[in-house]
């Protein structure tokens, strides 16, 4: 057995002084009498504590609470004076199922932007235009993109 354990055992073997029986009974009875006062607090008492707390809080900062109430009243008044954010749409009288079908876009026809190129009008190509190299056509397209900004033609002068 090493030294620390021996020292601990030595300390633990020292007998504590016994509390006199009268003292012990008195202490235990006092503790028993004090325990229910802490544990058996009713709900009403706890609510009363909350009320006291709120009262203390409101009494401590009266100006802040009054300012908050005034601000709240002003905001409510402004909200009541402003027009409603919801726009009232004019009522549409639907004559029947046929009118409904006319006003509803046909789901089988795609919008104009999503139509396949075959449905758009083809570009006008003169039938008797001679075939030219692709590089010349690309140059025309690039010059056309300048929008006529150049005062002269680079390729004809």
């Amino acid at each position: 057995m090493n030294e620390p354990e021996t020292f601990e055992n030595r300390l633990a073997r020292q007998p504590l002084r016994r509390v006199p029986a009268a003292w012990r009974a008195e202490i235990l009875s006092a503790a028993e009498a004090a325990r229910p006062r802490v544990a058996a607090r009713s709900t009403a008492e706890r609510e009363a504590d909350w009320a006291v707390g709120w009262r203390l809080l409101s009494a401590r900062f009266p100006l802040a609470w009054a300012s908050l109430a005034a601000l709240w009243i002003v905001l409510v008044g402004i909200n009541l004076m402003l027009p409603s954010p919801f726009v009232r749409l004019p009522r549409i009288e639907l004559g029947g199922l046929a009118t409904f079908e006319v006003n509803t876009p046909n789901p089988t026809i795609p919008p104009a932007g999503l139509r396949p190129p075959a449905q758009t009008a083809p570009a006008h190509v003169p039938p008797d235009a001679p075939a030219r190299p692709r590089s010349e056509r690309r140059r025309e397209i690039n010059l056309g993109a300048l929008g006529g900004w150049l005062p002269f033609n680079l390729f004809t002068s």
């Binding site: 020292f7 300390l11 633990a12 020292q14 007998p15 504590l16 002084r17």
Partner: protein, 84 residues
């Protein structure tokens, strides 16, 4: 005002001197270390039970116990070596 020792009186003078020194050394300890030492040595509680009773982590209880025990050992070593 004379303080009453926490330990029972002993017939052996050496043992009584050790208990008196132990009581004095315990009085000089910080209360948190003294509480842990008391609960561990003389109440036989584990560190987990001490931690639950004092609402501290078990490691804190163990460290307080170790620090307090080292202080007691430093103060009681002469008497302890003499009795041993």
């Amino acid at each position: 005002m004379e303080r009453v020792s926490a330990f029972a009186p002993a017939d052996d003078p050496d043992e009584q001197a050790f208990r008196t020194a132990l009581n004095q050394a315990l009085d000089e300890l910080p209360p948190d270390q003294r509480a842990v030492l008391h609960l561990k040595l003389w109440e036989g509680l584990t560190f987990e039970q001490i931690a639950g009773a004092l609402e501290i982590p078990p490691n804190t209880a163990a460290s307080r116990y170790r620090y307090g025990l080292d202080k007691l050992r430093d103060q009681l070593r002469p008497l302890y070596d003499e009795i041993k």
